[in-house]
Point group: C2
Chain length 276, copies 2
């Protein structure tokens, strides 16, 4: 009975804001029977330009909140939080935790043929060297080049997913990765799948884009399966399958979220995350 | 003796991050004998896309911090905080408080000849209608048109102060203000003076740009003078004239700050603002 109860609990997914919804979307696709509690830290977004200490403190508060929601596993659906806070979070909770960086790193190694991998992300993620570190644990010979792209998130949030301005900015950011001759590029920020067409066009057909959101959902499914935690079936009709919490501006979150996950998010509840 | 002590106290200036340094720069120019304590809320920046409740809570914490620094007056060097939090702050402290919106509004009314004024700023500032409200208190006949420009702050922080991309984005944002035929444009966000060349070029010679940072320093000088609070003279040699505090990433703040205020900021101290 105890086991069944655990299986029926929701998965907790969190991000600094809306970007993690691209990860949630993949989990919804690959694990349609699972309940999900999503938290977006919209009062303190973005994390990408903030320090390790601050991102760790914020992430710990969020995990404490998700634990009050009786989640059975936690997905750190934010590359910056994964880069800075994963170890600290693993020390603080016994729940299974999945991050977005390890799955992306693993797929990058499996994908590259010429041994040259690029990683684009926030200043925090790229500066941390975390992708490089995980990739080298698997294969020390792979050459990893990181490039921070601070304007991508604001461009995505402004809706310029396909636009000459985004083309121009992307051309500048990506030029050195093209020069190096990478054949694999990790979209190391949860916003970036939304501009993958633009990035793909600029990098050209010879470069494979790795979307950690997809790989994370695959890994989550394996983990839940191994631990006997997969949902025993679809939630009952009328049950609240997906719940959304934010730390600020729930209405604005709802609008953007509905443009990403096409689920018809009816409500997002604001909670005082600083108190957790 | 008590009065002299008050006059010798520093002025407290705060912003969500680095933008308020354009206001501090004006105060340094116009009031070179004053000591200043600057606080930038870099752990929670930006404010422009966040809700009123959150911006009020953050601003109140900062004012409590500045009070521990024995300031004699407070400058809200952030348009969003001015728009949302000024009233709440005035209720919480007896110190004189100056915001950046009122001085900008006043100057806009004095400047316009055709009675058509534009205001550009963050979503928060523009959505609040605060400039319009202050302008109409002075002259109800002035027609005010606001336009949120969410990409300007990231473009400025990426260093693209003069760049074809910034030109293109500015052309899009400003098109409707040109169509309306405004003759006065308020730079309603503290980052915008850094791209005033770009904005001026697109708006053309017939449009006067109002920089609230400048007007705020003028008003501050008047206020301090009226209340007998002007500094009695330059701080002694070796005294710490300007002190900088942030809530996160002090090193990064220092680099950007030095590009704005050319003072040679030697240190910025990180404090836990959530605890105030």
């Amino acid at each position: 009975m105890e086991l069944l109860e655990n299986r029926e609990k929701p998965i907790g997914v969190f991000d600094s804001g809306v970007g993690g919804l691209t990860v949630m979307r993949e989990i919804m696709r690959q694990l349609p029977d699972e309940k999900i509690v999503y938290f977006g830290d919209t009062a303190r977004v973005p994390y990408g330009s903030k320090s390790r200490e601050t991102v760790v403190r914020y992430s710990e508060q969020i995990v404490r909140f998700l634990q009050t929601q009786q989640v059975k596993a936690i997905v750190v659906a934010c590359n910056t939080a994964s880069a800075y806070a994963l170890e600290a979070l693993e020390e603080k909770t016994e729940l299974p935790i999945i991050d977005v960086v390890k799955p992306g790193a693993k797929t990058a190694v499996e994908t590259t043929k010429n041994g040259r991998v690029g990683v684009i992300g926030t200043e925090g993620t790229v500066g941390s060297g975390i992708y490089s570190s995980y990739i080298h644990q698997i294969d020390p010979k792979v050459q990893v080049t990181g490039k921070a792209c601070p304007l991508f998130v604001p461009l995505v949030e402004e809706g310029l997913w396909e636009d000459p301005v985004t083309d121009e900015i992307a051309s500048r950011y990506l030029a050195e990765l093209i020069d190096i001759g990478i054949d694999t590029l990790v979209l190391g920020c949860t916003h970036y799948p939304l501009i993958r067409k633009t990035v793909g066009k600029i990098m050209g057909e010879g470069v494979t884009l790795v979307n950690p959101a997809y790989e994370t959902a695959v890994e989550l499914k394996e983990l839940l399966s191994q631990q006997g935690l997969l949902s025993p079936g679809a939630p009952a009709l009328g049950e609240n399958r997906y719940r959304f919490y934010v730390s600020d501006a729930a209405e604005k979150f709802k609008r953007f979220a509905n443009s990403i996950i096409k689920y018809g998010i009816l409500s997002a509840k604001t909670i005082p995350i600083e108190e957790y």
